[in-house]
């Protein structure tokens, strides 16, 4: 069997292209972080580095494997990454997989809450706006979209924290973080506001997409036919118009879910959530190559997988797409 034929199997060429992308990402992440000046020994030992003899520094470099060539360092990072340990944090000696096991669920929960809130809010306001284009309510909807796009997440978060903590003396994130299994009610309270901040960021583009997709569909013949044959207006709104506008909305949501992961860095910091974003930020501050590298790599893998998932969802909602 030749190579061309293998490529024709469903999913094979897709998988290959995903794999090359991931390979490219790994090389890129690796190279970018190697440019960091002060190396991780300085980072791990801080001012005490000065007390080390050159002999000791050299031994440490051998111990941590940063004396080898770039190529060998990449190989050993990949080995450790693929074995599921993702490397070790120099300063604490904890493996990145241990760190990630507790931080990844936090970020995923946050991203899901944000996406769900964002999609509900975005579609609702988009429908609200599209009902009467050019009216006051359309203007209000569009103003919301614009402001949600323009107010940075950190401003919104800082504002919410200030108001909640000082006016209402309510700040659940001041307590230690609780997983949904330990204390579901506490977890909900801690996730509510950061989820809302991310949700508003997602809602803006979803709202804009929904509005324009709906306005385009409303004029289609089948909508007129549905009205003509006496389908109740509500049913036309959801079954005919919304259903047929879903493709661009799903695309937008997929893209946004990825960006949410980025937004999580800022929101997690402000709301003191021990997620992936904070893990990366802390690691950058401490110059922990391995942690930054592997954490960013995990983010990127999720991002790529979400894009693939978006593609699969397309086909489910629109059987006309066959490729």
């Amino acid at each position: 069997m030749n190579f061309r034929k293998v490529l024709k199997f469903p999913g094979v060429s897709r998988t290959l292209s995903v794999l090359t992308t991931l390979f490219g990402i790994s090389v890129f992440v690796f190279l970018v972080l190697r440019v960091i000046p002060g190396d991780s020994i300085t980072g791990a030992f801080g001012i005490e580095t000065g007390a080390l003899t050159p002999q000791q520094i050299a031994e440490l470099r051998v111990y941590y494997g940063i004396d080898k060539s770039l190529f060998m360092q990449y190989i050993s990072w990949m080995q450790s990454f693929l074995s599921g340990k993702f490397g070790f944090a120099y300063s604490t000696g904890v493996s990145v997989s241990t760190l990630t096991k507790s931080s990844l669920p936090v970020t995923i929960e946050l991203a899901i809450i944000g996406t769900v809130l964002g999609v509900i809010l975005g579609i609702a306001i988009g429908m609200f706006s599209a009902k009467k284009p050019g009216s006051t309510r359309d203007f209000a909807g569009q103003l919301f979209g614009l402001l949600a796009l323009a107010i940075p997440g950190f401003v919104l978060s800082t504002g919410i924290v200030t108001i909640m903590a000082n006016k209402f003396h309510y700040f659940p994130n001041g307590y230690e973080y609780m997983t949904p299994w330990e204390n579901p009610w506490m977890n909900f309270q801690q996730m509510m506001f950061p989820g809302l901040v991310l949700g508003i960021a997602v809602a803006a583009p979803v709202m804009r997409t929904t509005r324009s997709a709906l306005l385009e569909t409303v004029d289609k013949d089948f909508v007129r036919t549905a009205h003509g044959k006496g389908v109740p207006n509500n049913k036309v709104q959801f079954r005919h118009i919304l259903r047929n506008s879903l493709i661009p909305i799903v695309t937008m949501t997929g893209i946004q879910f990825g960006y949410l992961l980025g937004g999580a860095v800022i929101v997690e910091k402000i709301f003191a959530l021990p997620g992936m974003g904070r893990q990366i930020l802390d690691a950058i501050m401490k110059r922990e190559y391995a942690t930054v590298q592997s954490s960013i790599m995990i983010f990127a893998i999720m991002f790529v997988l979400i894009n693939v998932a978006t593609d699969i969802v397309y086909r489910k909602i629109d059987p006309r797409i066959l490729k």
């Binding site: 090359t20 992308t21 991931l22 490219g24 990402i25 890129f28 992440v29 970018v32 972080l33 190697r34 440019v35 960091i36 000046p37 614009l146 402001l147 796009l149 323009a150 107010i151 940075p152 997440g153 950190f154 401003v155 800082t158 504002g159 924290v161 200030t162 903590a165 000082n166 990825g258 960006y259 949410l260 992961l261 980025g262 937004g263 860095v265 800022i266 910091k269 402000i270 990366i280 930020l281 950058i284 501050m285 930054v292 960013i296 983010f299 990127a300 991002f303 790529v304």
Partner: protein, 285 residues
């Protein structure tokens, strides 16, 4: 020549008809003027000067936006911060647009392996959330304004590659390009005179939108402590410094936040206005 003038007039004419475009242009213009004032030192006070007797004063005739915990004038600091944001964003977007458009047009026009390579590499860049990639690059480069600009520029380059490459692929197969080639025009001339004008409109729109994202990314980075370092003011840093103060000194939080929001709203509106003005299909009249 005459025709060109009319065309330019036409675009401006259509732009001025869109309310959002005009409002956006006014907002952006105000912010640009404010930033220019700061370049020439037309701020009421030195942005890093500490007025020890006037710590945490509310807005007044002396200190329009109040003072912060070191008695520094929030108004002067906000202007200086806006200038930094705009400098970084404009540098970053110029870099991204120049690189992205050149690579995009070339990839689309040359095709074959070069196109494959460029698309693959930009796919890799697309696989990161923008702020995360910028974070990693800034962490490895440093905290100077040009480091931030470079990081944001690199992050946004693939967007311009994509925007430029698309139209080239469609246009390149059209008869007039084939004819130009038969007539013996050089590739450079074809690219410049026949292909570039077709890519121009989407790029201009993209520049406006990218500027707004760049401002958000820049302020996000400095908020996280990875951009401008204190005591130099930057809008993101000011918001971060205002966190513990906001409860009793709202002005330290509100004014820098307001400036970021206004400039981003303005740029988005300008983007919308440009899209409507430059796309004949969208023109209402």
């Amino acid at each position: 020549m005459r025709n060109k003038e009319e065309k330019a007039k036409g675009a401006l004419h259509y732009y001025l008809q869109s309310t959002s475009g005009v409002v956006g242009a006014v907002l952006v213009l105000i912010m640009v003027i404010v930033a220019i004032c700061s370049i020439f030192g037309f701020t009421p006070y030195d942005p890093v000067e500490q007025h020890i007797e006037d710590i945490l004063q509310g807005p007044s005739a002396h200190f329009w936006f109040g003072t912060d915990e070191f008695g520094r004038d929030v108004f002067s600091r906000t202007l200086e911060g806006m200038r930094r944001s705009l400098t970084v964003s404009i540098t970053a977007v110029s870099l991204a647009a120049t690189l992205g458009v050149s690579f995009g047009i070339l990839a689309g026009y040359v095709g074959k392996w070069f196109d494959q390579l460029v698309t693959r590499v930009s796919d890799v860049f697309f696989a990161f959330p923008a702020i995360l990639l910028a974070l990693a690059i800034v962490a490895s480069l440093g905290n100077d304004w040009y480091d931030t600009a470079l990081a944001i520029g690199v992050v946004y380059t693939p967007i311009f590659i994509r925007v430029a490459r698309g139209p080239v692929l469609t246009v390149k197969e059209m008869d007039y390009i084939k004819i130009s080639r038969v007539l013996g025009f050089s590739s450079f001339r074809i690219l410049r005179k026949h292909i570039f004008p077709n890519v121009f409109a989407p790029i201009v729109v993209q520049v406006a939108l990218s500027l707004s994202w760049a401002i958000l990314t820049e302020s996000g980075l400095s908020f996280l402590g990875l951009g401008t370092q204190p005591p130099t003011p930057s809008l993101g840093l000011m918001v971060s410094e205002a966190q513990p103060l906001a409860a009793f000194a709202w002005w330290t939080l509100v004014f820098p936040s307001l400036f970021i929001t206004i400039v981003v709203v303005g740029l988005n509106l300008v983007g919308d206005g440009l899209r409507d003005a430059l796309d004949p299909a969208r023109r209402s009249s």
